[in-house]
Structure formats: C-alpha cells, structure tokens
C-alpha cells in the first residue's frame, strides 16, 4: 500500500460513524498494522510513511517537515476527506507501542522511533519532531470541531515538556482488545457508570477483576508496582474513569433486531442512601434510591434482597433519579439493608444489576443534581464539605478524620442509623494518605483533571454555543496548581469558574499546571460555535398539546404554537370588540349602513368611528373582494346615510394610512358621490 492507502485504512479504523461522540485513541500496535497490511505490513507501513504523501514525497526535507507542509496544504484545500497526517501520527504511536507486557519508557521513545525509521541511534528527537505537536492539535480540531465528533473525538490532553512523548505514549495505554474487554471487567467489578469512584477504588477494582482480561503491564501500572511510571498510571486511571462513564452495557435496538453475538451484560446499578439529618430531634431519616438518568424508558422494578428475602419495589421515570424504594407499601428506610455486608437486589428487566455496596464507611454530600438532603457518593470531594457515616469498627476512619480533615465533628444521632453507626461531617479533607489503602473511597484525586461544566453543548464533542460557554472546574490533588484559559490565569476553587467573555475565542485552550511539576500540565480545549452558523436538522419533530395542555394523543384537537389543528373555532365576534354606540358599519353597497350594535345581514367592509377625530378602519376579508358596488339596497334613507358618511363626511374622516386601502376608500367616495 502507498501512503494514501495506509492513511485511509488507519483513519477508517479509528474514525468511523459508529464512534460518534466517543473518545478515540490512536492505539496502533504491530498486530494492528499486520492485520491491515499482512505479514510484512510493518515494513510496508514504515516505508510508505517515510516516502510520505504524493504531493510532498519528492521534497528534500525530513519526515516531520513534510508532514507539516502536507497539513498546511490540506487545510488550504478546505480539509477534504480524512486528514493526510494520520498515518504519520500512527507511526509516532507505533514508536511508543511495545509488544505484550513490555513497559514503555518515555526516555527511550526517540531512540525507538529512530530505530523504526532506520535512522542513526540517538536519544534526540528526529528533525522538527516537536513542531508536530500542532498536527496533533489539528487532529483534535478536525475530529471535535470540523466533524462535530461524528467520527469520534480525539483529545490532546497534555501540555508542557512531557507532551511530545506523552501524547503518543498515552495512545497505547489500553490496546483495542483491552478496551473491548473493559465492559466485562466493569460488570464483574460491580462498577456503576453513574457513580464517580475514587482513583484508588477504580484501581483496586480493576486490578482485582481485570486479571485475564487486561495485559499484565496494565495491571502492574494500576497497582503502582516498582518500575512503572506514575505519570502513565495517572493517565491510565483517567482513561478508565472515562471508559466507565461512556460504558454502554446494552444496545436494546440491536437486541430487538435479534442480532447474534452482541455482548450484553447487566449494568451494575448502585442502590444509594439519601439521608436527612434532623438537628433538633437528633435523628436521621434515610431512604433508598438509584440514579436512573441513564434509562431511556419509564421503569418499575421489584427487587428481592439476596440476604433477607425482603421484596422492594421502585419506580423510575426515564432520565431521572428514581422514586424512593418501597417495602410492604411504605417508603423503605435504608437500614432495611445491611450497611456492613452489602447486598444484591435481584429483579428482572432493563438489564440492571442492583448492588447495595457494603463497607465501614458511607460518604454523603449535600443535595445536588435535583436530589434533596444528603446523597451518597462514591468518593470524597476534592474540595469542600462532606459527611461520613462510619461503623463502630472503623476507628481508623474516625482517627483520620480527626487528624486530616478540617472542621471534623460528630453529628450526634439518637435514632435512624443502623446500630453502631455514627455520623460525622467535615469541611475539607486535607490528605488521605494512610487511609485510602484500607478504605479506597476515602481517596482524594491522585491527578489533576479539567472538567467542563454547564454551557450549551452541541452534540457530544467539546462544541458549545458561543452564547453559553462552559465553566471550568479544576479537580486537583493537594498541591499548588494554576489554571489558565487561552494563557490568562483564572482562579481555582470548589465552584466552577467562568471564563471572562473577552478571553473567549473560537478555540479555547485550558491548561492546568502543577507549579511544582510543570511537566504534568493537563490541557483540554473547547470550541465555540455561533448560533447563526447552525443549520436546523431536517425532519425536526414539533410538539403538540391537547386542549387541556397535556401532550396531544391520538384524536382531538392538536395545538402547536399558534396553530390549532383538527378543531373548528367559531368566527371571532368582531363587533363584540367595538363600542357599538361609537361606530358605524358600512357595507359594499349604498344603503348598507348600521350602528355598531345594529342587526345586519351583510358583511361590513368599513368601520367608521364617531366623534371629533373620526377614522375609518378596514374590516373586509380582502381588498379584492371589498370593491364597492353601485347597486343600491334598502330604503332611500339608508342610501342617503351611506352617502353622507362616505362622501359628505370625507373631509372629517381620516382615511386609511395604507396605499391600497386608501385607494379602496377613494373608490367608495367616488361611488358615494354619484349615488
């Protein structure tokens, strides 16, 4: 294959319609290259990349210089088809891709890339390699902005000195096979995609349940074994968080089509506790619920505790938090379940596996996300207050809280918690070292992360309406960090930060820098799109209401905006709008005249007001059908009055302001003159 063919094959492999909105990693391996190009695929691929795209292959410049020139020309042509640089970037990733369980080492990256290219041995980068960072950025722009994430979303998440090797290495942290098996690992580990777990929790769960599915090096990295890079562990953990959030367990549409071979696993769903602390009575009220925001349909579940055999019921409306769990017709208190040992609640339907997690500690935060009071969380917050329910066995947690948390104090509870449990609150956790190994949920973030919050997001890529950009949240471990957007510093705190409007551009680059270790600078970008540039989707479905304001069903009137369909309204009694005594109605024929409240059997064309400032208003159907007629109706007196109002009164009546109506009124005056 030549360069263009390799480029096309690799691009199609990673950027495809089925990747719509999903994160894409160029996880190139030798196996994949051989799958695409046959047994000698690797040599063929490298030879093709060294030769480069047709338009620059004769240029007497290095690989990177040609890549930059190709990118520039492709953009000048309007960026048609796939970007021409994907094959070359794939080679950069191949330089970081080690076989099987070999460990990547960032210091030897350049040496290995040179080996692949057949260049002299050196630890220095190839010519203009660092300049190619702009090409990685371009791939992000193409996937996120130009293609709106329709073929997948590529992110450049590093900045600072490490980015040059960090970007290619981070593509290889999970192979395609590993990524495909993650669903099974998550399911077996009982990880609920709706819960934000701590890094220690994710790492421990994947290490325990990922053996046999993931490469040994991945397990070693997660375990933090000696010889593994801490930086790569952090990136790997971030990827696992992201994969869990995006994990789609069941594709019901395909199940209905009866397609064989689909991987279908029940989605673990954490049953959570909501807790209300009543300070006066020193009691707590608890309820059970779950996060049903991932469900597309209204559902009702009957769930049996595998420990006690108690049968709970719970209802949830699509994309909402569930209603509280019921037991024997009453709202169930959370201590109906075993807080220490946990429980599995077995039921049928919707592909959910309900888990009530056991343990010595339960973490709560003040109600957000539309849930009242305190709600259970999977980890303590990076910043800000939290509550802990702690079993009497966990004296180490109480000691940790006392020594490592600001504002730690017990909230005395006389009733409502399971026996032997106590409730504490803290303003902030300063450190979790020492406690996180035994209680993984009590773990502050181990790496910095930028989260985009709010804003009007368009689709799944990082595109937002320019009128409503996202806010920024810096999730940081303890330490000093600086947050910038487009190079301008912003404050860091527990609350989301708005970027001042004057700083915003079409592409906005956010960086989160560890001041002690700038190598580890994290980066993300978001794009702003002006409303004027957005086309409406074709086939947009409009809403209809019924007469009582509910959604319109089948049959009966349907209302949408100003339109009333399948309903016949009576004619507007226009004359009811008038003060009958103060106006005169005129018809098309001489003699058609009446007071505003008079009984008439003809259609009025004009309404003429009485009094000093007399005006005439058109009230006919159309100008064309309202021309005056000469034929007279009624008695002579009525004809005379019609003439008096129109012809003799013409100087005291202000005519219509508009040209055609004014002309029509003039026609009436002409007819009235000759009556």
């Amino acid at each position: 294959m030549n360069y263009a063919e390799w480029n096309n094959e690799i691009a199609k492999r990673f950027f495809a319609p089925e990747c719509d909105g999903r994160r894409v990693f160029l996880s190139i391996t030798k196996d994949l290259i051989e799958e695409l190009g046959g047994a000698k695929g690797v040599q063929d691929f490298i030879a093709a990349v060294k030769q480069g795209p047709g338009e620059t292959m004769r240029a007497n410049s290095g690989l990177c210089a040609r890549l930059l020139e190709t990118t520039k020309r492709w953009r000048q042509r309007g960026a048609p088809d796939f970007p021409p640089y994907i094959a070359t970037l794939a080679l950069f990733v191949l330089g970081a891709s080690y076989d099987g369980d070999e460990e990547a080492e960032s210091h030897s990256y350049h040496k290995r890339l040179r080996e692949l290219l057949g260049e002299p041995e050196s630890y220095n980068p190839i010519y203009k390699f660092y300049d190619c960072i702009s090409v990685w950025d371009d791939l992000e722009t193409w996937s996120s902005h130009d293609k709106e994430g329709a073929f997948g979303v590529f992110h450049v998440e590093f900045s600072g000195p490490w980015m040059f090797v960090g970007i290619p290495i981070s593509q290889t942290l999970l192979t395609e096979k590993e990524r495909a098996s993650l669903g099974e690992v998550f399911s077996t580990a009982g990880l609920d995609p709706a819960i934000q777990y701590s890094d220690a929790h994710i790492a421990a769960a994947i290490v325990e349940h990922g053996r046999g599915h993931l490469l040994k090096r991945t397990i070693r990295r997660l375990s933090g074994e000696a010889g593994t890079s801490e930086g790569l562990r952090e990136v790997l953990l971030e990827r696992l968080h992201e994969e869990l959030e995006q994990w789609q367990t069941t594709d019901f549409s395909q199940m209905e089509d009866g397609l064989p071979g689909q991987f279908v696993k029940d989605r673990p769903t954490r049953v959570l506790v909501s807790l209300q602390y009543l300070t006066v009575s020193r009691t707590v009220q608890t309820k059970l619920f779950f996060d049903g925001r991932g469900l597309d349909v209204d559902s009702y579940f009957t769930l049996k505790s595998s420990r006690t055999g108690k049968v709970f019921s719970v209802e949830v409306e699509r994309r909402s938090w569930s209603h509280p769990f019921y037991l024997d017709g009453n709202v169930a208190q959370a201590n109906e379940l075993d807080w220490l040992a946990g429980d599995n609640l077995n039921g049928t339907g919707a592909g959910l596996k309900f888990i009530f997690a056991g343990g010595n500690v339960r973490i709560f935060e003040s109600g957000t996300d539309g849930v009242a009071h305190l709600i259970e969380r999977g980890r303590i917050p990076a910043h800000g207050p939290f509550w802990l329910a702690v079993s009497s066995q966990a004296t180490d947690v109480i000691e940790w809280g006392r020594t490592s948390c600001k504002g730690w104090q017990e909230a005395r509870v006389d009733a409502g918690l399971p026996g032997g449990w106590r409730l504490f609150k803290a303003d902030q956790a300063d450190s979790t070292s020492g406690i996180e190994n035994k209680h993984p949920s009590l773990c502050l973030p181990s790496f910095a992360r930028i989260v985009l919050a709010g804003g009007l997001k368009l689709g799944k890529a990082s595109r937002y309406l320019s009128s409503s950009p996202p806010q920024l949240v810096a999730q940081t471990p303890p330490g000093d960090f600086s947050l910038t957007c487009n190079g301008v510093p912003l404050s860091i705190g527990p609350s989301p930060v708005s970027v001042p409007a004057e700083l915003l551009q079409e592409k906005n680059v956010v960086e989160l820098r560890d001041t002690q270790n700038p190598d580890k600078t994290r980066k993300c970008s978001f794009y702003l799109v002006k409303a004027e540039t957005l086309p409406w989707k074709t086939g947009l479905e409009f809403g209809f209401s019924a007469r009582n304001g509910t959604g319109a069903g089948n049959g009966g009137a349907r209302i949408s905006g100003a339109l009333v369909l399948d309903w016949e309204s009576p004619g507007l009694p226009m004359r009811d709008s008038l003060d009958g005594e103060s106006v005169v109605l005129l018809g098309r024929k001489p003699g058609q005249i009446a007071n505003g409240n008079g009984v008439i059997d003809w259609s009025p064309v004009w309404i003429v007001s009485k009094g000093r400032n007399r005006r005439v208003f058109f009230c006919g159907n159309t100008v064309e059908t309202s021309e005056p007629e000469k034929s007279q109706v009624g008695d002579r007196k009525a004809v005379r009055k019609w003439q008096e109002v129109i012809y003799y009164g013409r100087r005291s009546i202000q005519p219509p302001r508009h040209r055609r109506l004014s002309a029509l009124w003039s026609n009436y005056i002409t007819i009235a003159k000759n009556v």
Partner: protein
Amino acid sequence: MGRSSLEKAIAEFGRKEPGLNTNGWSGFEALWALDMLGHCEMAGTKGRFVVTLAQPSLARLPGLEISRAALVGARSAGTLKEIQAACGTVGLGVNVVVSEIAADSGIASIDRIVLESETFDAIQGVADSVGIPLTRQPAGWELACASTTVFDFQNGIEWVPSYPVPDEAEHFSPDTLRFCEGYSGGLRLARWKEFATNKTIYALRKDGAVAFLDSPEWGRHVELSASGASSIRYDAGRKIFAIRATARPPRLLARALCLCSGKLPAIAEADTGKGKTLWLAFEEVPQPVANIVSEKLGQEAGPLPF
C-alpha cells in the same frame, strides 16, 4: 426533540443572555415564557414535562387599524432573513418589525418578529412564499376557543380514594391566592415536596380523596371557580386583561392572551389596602377573547385594580 436542540432554540430566541441555563427555576421561567409566546410546547403528562419546539406559524394579531401577524414557533437564525427577503420579493407592502420583549425570566430578551401590512392578503402572500402557515383567525381567539374549560378539566381528573397526604403539605388559599394553609376540608389544591426525589407534587384534595395534577395552574382555577373567588380583571377600554401573578392562567389560555399582542404580560402592582398584589397584565386583549378566557376559567372578571 432532544434537550440540546431546545437549548439551541432558546439560545436563538434570547441570544443576549450569556449564562442561559435551562436547569433550575430561572430555566423553568424561561421555558414558560417561550411557551406563552407559542415558541415551544411544555406539555405535562403523568408528572413529567416534555418540552418540544412548536411548529412555526404566523399568528394573526387582533386589531382594526392594521393587519399584523407575529412569528411564533421554531425558528433559526435564517428565518428572519427568509421572511425579509420574501417581503422584498412579494412586493405587497409588508413590513417586518423586530423588537425585543423584556422577560422577567431566565431570558433577558426575546426577539418579537411581527409582520405588518394593510391587509392579511399581503401577509398571506409572504406566508405562502416562506412556507409558514398563517392562522385563519386571530390566534388568541382560536387558542382560547380550543382550550378546555375549568369544568371539563375538573370532570376529567382521576381521584385516588384515601391517599395519605403528608402533614407538611400546604394548601392554596382562594383568599390570598397563596399556598399557606393546612387542610380544612372541601376542594383544595395541595402541594408538598417528595423527600427522595425533591419533586413538588400538586394534587387536588376533596376530603380523603386526592387527584394528582400535571397542571397546577388548572388546579388553582378549579379551586377558585369552585369557591366563587375571582383572580381576573378586565378593562375593555384599555384592552388590558389582568390575572393575579400567583394564579396564572393555564398555559394555552396564557398563550391565547399573549398572542393578542405578541408580547409577554407586564407585571403590574396594585395596592388593595390590605397590601400590595402583583398582576400579570396582558395587553391588547379584545373583548371577545377576554370574555371567552373568563368563561373557560369559570370566573367573572372584575375591574382593574391599577
């Protein structure tokens, strides 16, 4: 239609508000404003609101002096340009008047787009040219006629016998038009907050029975109609229809009143002697529309208090 499409539309309607957020109370008020103007349908069924864009249309506005129609429903940034171009091409003397509607809601302003001409024929020509339907009669009249009545609403609700209403439930007072009281018997609108989901539940109570409502607005007017109280006022001379801000009209009647002028109601304050009350004042409401809205609510309209 997805939420993002709706948000896109809202952002288009009120582009000057940088922090527009469709979550929370201000977001609900923004949606309510858009619903009143006929831009979206916020229809509730079984306790859940589904918000969708309304079909684009030109709503005839009542009035004798000049023929006018307001653009309502879904629109894109290009819709105004299309209409302006059609007005130029058709050459029937149709003016497009764009003004801002100040809203006491999450949206700072909404563009009000009104076509004006000497006859509706000319506006019909523009409507045909851009493929947007023009209502046959004034939209306020048609919507008010189509809306259900308070009596039909009351007859259609389903009662649940012996439902345990929480003690903390508040009840709507027909005297103060506020939720402030315990239950003292009779037909009353109750509301309470569900602990786990934080949802506010509205239900009519009649002794031990309860009827859960999708529309608390209808619930208030069922109670007001049954008690003989009135929350509405009308002045035919000023063409102002006012309704107490704490008992706002059900959404289709609110839309009928708004589409008499194409504007949101103004907030008016009145001093009743016992204290100040707030009113939603709908402008340019002709007598027939005021009459039928009063009839649909089962209330007599008194004189304006301001």
